[in-house]
């Protein structure tokens, strides 16, 4: 038997002496949270750090590592929340991020979160991490759900059989978290661990023989024997193994630069799962028999039904838009009764009244017809106020999106859309980031990191900007509410569906003419349905409000002031100063661009200017129109009403085309920057921007003429 523990001290010293692979200089301990997608890592991270990172009930919510500091009651250390992964292979970006962090950054302790109701599958990753030899503590999370399902988990037995500390926790309630962190805090890198001579890990070496990681010569594993980084990495991993109690099976390890063959990978998986089966069989008693339908399965029978799946998806979306946009929520006008507005419309009315009251309150403080009055009342109140008045409706929309995510519906939506997208060369896996794009395109693009296929990832990055984000919803709220008050929900839902259709068609074009090849098959975990957590919903809503207010107070504010200035000043009679809006700098600049939009039915300079400012942030379209409405149409009443928009030159058909154009033309600056970063290609970013503009123009042209044809 190779004696791998003859001289662990030397190896430890050498390992820490190597600069590239050595432990980074740190004054504080660093813990890493790792686990399968949707196992509750981010919930635990929030509990440990007191932060409010978004938590979702579907795979892929955390796609990049997040760093925080432990709350004092949990110790003194930094903690890193790594992306959720199923294994440590290197097929997707988030797997590479997690693997690289563990190997290169070498956290003091890795805390592996294992879902109690899904323990067998989750332990696969545990085995892979343990094989790296890093100090490891396993947290069996969601113990409350396991107990509710009648499961009994003997964590002490799990710990004994795995050879690593295992603690039961329920991150959402904080149960067991103190004990977990105390255990992690006491688990020091390489210091506290001793070689366990009875470990089956080592007993198995002779049995498995040549081909497995077999350390014949400890000298070979001194890091200074290896000049290349790969060799040093492997040596480091081997060195770590001397300090591990892990009792898992021997597995094939890559030798030098040669990766494992598929047969070896599969053999490794078989060995791990055989070991896991044994461990789980001795320490877990399930309250439910395999194959027995639980509540989630019964719901899925309906939700993913062959005939009902897509109609239900559309119905869910319609209900969401109906609650957000409908003026006649209960359909009472059909019976000659006064309509009752939807919660979104009702709240928007209140917000508009509040903004009007604020404007009326500060108006007497300024002398009318002065530049200061114009700046504050027309510029700031008109621009920022117009955007803020739609905050409640945005909150209602986000509430429903978060709710769908929280209960676990999003994965089902991806599954049922997979077959519909497949004829177009796309997979339901692309639909997951696209759905996220309904909230904001930026995190949606980052979610593309979970895709294994680089081609599919690039295509999906290209498609996400066609998904209507919350900021664009503000534009729809204004125009649909003003010009289509009786059918605002149907119009807005139509725009969302149009975005999906354009994205799917674009995907087909890319797959047919640019990236030929097979479509990545869909393999997706369906998390069990959960009752939404009020705290999670509240945090998501607060995040939306905070982000919206932040944008209103920064970029929208600045854009409103700039727009007010450019719409109030100009050259008249050879002198620069305050002028009539029709002679302003903005009117001249907008007038130069406006003819481009004339075939689309909104060839007026306010529309052109609003679209240009929308590149900074889509809410700026509304802010700009709010400022201009105050300047052009003082007698049209408060807010961006139909009268105010008509005074700016919008018609019903033109406003419909304007919404279509706003949906698809250039994404905002933040999205463009994210696309550039995620695709790592300026050309791809420019192609998306140009293509988006061309498609927006063409589809808006068609929309305008269809609208005219139907008598809008």
């Amino acid at each position: 038997m190779p004696n791998c523990c003859d001289d662990p001290v030397d190896i430890r010293t050498d390992a820490s002496a190597q600069a590239p692979l050595g432990k980074p200089d740190r004054d504080r301990k660093t813990f890493a949270l790792i686990g399968n997608p949707n196992c509750g890592k981010t919930t635990l991270f929030n509990e440990l750090t007191g932060t409010n990172q978004h938590v979702g009930n579907w795979p892929g919510v955390t796609v990049e590592k997040k760093i925080g500091t432990l709350r004092p009651e949990y110790g003194d250390a930094d903690i890193v929340d790594l992306p959720g992964i199923y294994s440590l292979t290197s097929y997707s970006i988030e797997e590479r991020v997690s693997r690289a962090f563990i190997i290169d950054e070498r956290p003091d302790v890795v805390i592996d979160i294992v879902e109690a109701t899904n323990i067998e599958r989750n332990l696969f990753l545990t085995c892979q991490i343990a094989e790296l030899g890093v100090p490891l503590v396993v947290a069996v999370n969601m113990m409350d759900e396991a107990r509710a399902a009648g499961d009994v988990i003997d964590t002490a037995e799990l710990s004994r059989r795995l050879g690593v500390p295992v603690l039961p926790i329920t991150a959402v309630t904080g149960e067991g978290v103190i004990e977990l962190m105390h255990t992690a805090g006491a688990h020091k890198l390489m210091d506290a661990v001793e070689y366990e001579s009875t470990s089956p890990f080592h007993e198995g070496e002779e049995e498995h023989g040549h081909g497995f990681q077999d350390i014949e010569d400890p000298e070979e594993h001194r890091l200074d024997h290896h000049t290349d980084e790969k060799g040093r990495t492997n040596a480091l991993i081997s060195a770590y193994k001397y300090h591990n109690h892990y009792k898992g099976p021997m597995v094939y390890q890559p030798e030098g630069d040669a990766p494992l063959t598929e047969e070896q990978e599969t053999e490794n998986a078989n060995r791990r799962y055989a070991f896991i089966k044994e461990v789980v069989g001795a320490s877990v008693k399930r309250g439910r028999k395999a194959g027995e339908l639980n509540r989630s399965d019964k719901i899925d029978r309906v939700v993913t039904n062959r005939y009902l799946g897509i109609p239900l998806f559309l119905l869910v979306m319609f209900f969401m838009f109906h609650c957000t946009f409908s003026e006649d929520f209960l359909g009472l006008s059909a019976f000659g009764l006064d309509p009752v507005p939807s919660p979104g419309v009702w709240l928007q009315g209140l917000a508009q009244q509040l903004m009007d009251a604020i404007t009326a309150g500060i108006e007497p403080l300024f002398v009318p017809d002065t530049w200061l009055y114009g700046l504050v009342i027309d510029g700031v109140c008109g621009g920022v106020g117009a955007v803020l008045s739609f905050l409640p409706q945005i909150c209602v929309l986000f509430f429903f999106l978060t709710l769908l995510e929280d209960v676990g519906y999003m994965s089902r939506a991806a599954f049922i859309m997979d077959r519909a997208m497949r004829p177009f060369g796309m997979s339901g896996k692309s639909f997951v980031p696209m759905l996220m794009g309904f909230g904001c395109n930026v995190p949606a693009m980052m979610a593309c990191r979970t895709m294994e296929s680089e081609t599919d990832r690039k295509i999906t990055l290209f498609l996400v900007p066609f998904m209507s984000c919350g900021a664009r919803a503000t534009v729809f709220l204004v125009f649909a509410g003003a010009f289509f008050p009786d059918n605002a929900d149907v119009v807005v839902m139509g725009l969302y569906v149009l975005g999906i259709l354009v994205a799917i068609l674009t995907g087909w074009l890319l797959k047919t003419f640019v990236f030929k090849g097979e479509t990545t098959p869909l393999i997706i975990e369906l998390p069990r349905y959960r009752a939404p957590h009020m705290r999670s919903l509240g945090l998501a809503l607060w995040g939306t409000i905070k982000d919206y207010l932040q944008r209103a107070g920064t970029i929208i504010f600045v854009m409103s002031v700039v727009v007010w200035f450019a719409s109030s000043f100009g050259v008249e009679n050879g002198a620069f100063g305050m002028v009539d809006i029709q002679n302003s700098l903005l009117a001249i600049a907008g007038g130069a661009v406006a003819p481009l939009f004339a075939p689309l039915g909104f060839g007026v300079w306010p529309a052109a200017v609003a679209l240009i400012t929308g590149f900074a942030a889509k809410e700026s379209v509304v802010g700009t129109l709010g400022v201009l409405a105050n300047g052009v149409a003082d007698d049209t009443g408060a807010g961006l009403t139909q009268a105010a928009l008509s005074a700016l030159g919008f018609t019903t058909a033109g406003s419909f085309a304007f919404m279509v154009f706003s949906l698809m033309y250039l994404p905002c600056l933040a999205t463009v920057a994210t696309l550039r970063r995620e695709s790592n290609s300026r050309a791809w970013t420019a192609a998306q921007a140009c293509y988006g503009f061309a498609v927006a123009w063409a589809v808006a042209f068609i929309a305008y003429h269809v609208a005219l044809a139907v008598g809008m």
Binding site: E265, D300, R306, L522, I523
Partner: protein
């Protein structure tokens, strides 16, 4: 038989998997390995929903058709 043709409510043992590359690696990591028992919870035009190792996995038809199972 092919897993893609399995009916809802049936149980099978995986006997072979003909996927390759990242798909194979993903199936391995999710426990869809030879000898493993799977319960088909739902089978539709979109694909299959399986219970394996206590978790629910949705597979598209294309993947399910690469897997051979026995009763």
């Amino acid at each position: 038989m092919i897993l893609g043709k399995a009916a809802a409510g049936t149980s099978h043992t995986i006997t072979a998997c003909h996927s390759t590359g990242p798909t194979r690696a993903r199936l391995d990591s999710l426990g869809l390995v030879e000898g493993e028992r799977v319960d088909v919870l739902s089978s539709s035009w979109a694909g299959l929903i399986l219970e394996i190792k206590g978790s629910r996995l949705a597979l598209c038809k294309a993947v399910a058709d690469t897997m051979e199972v026995s009763d």
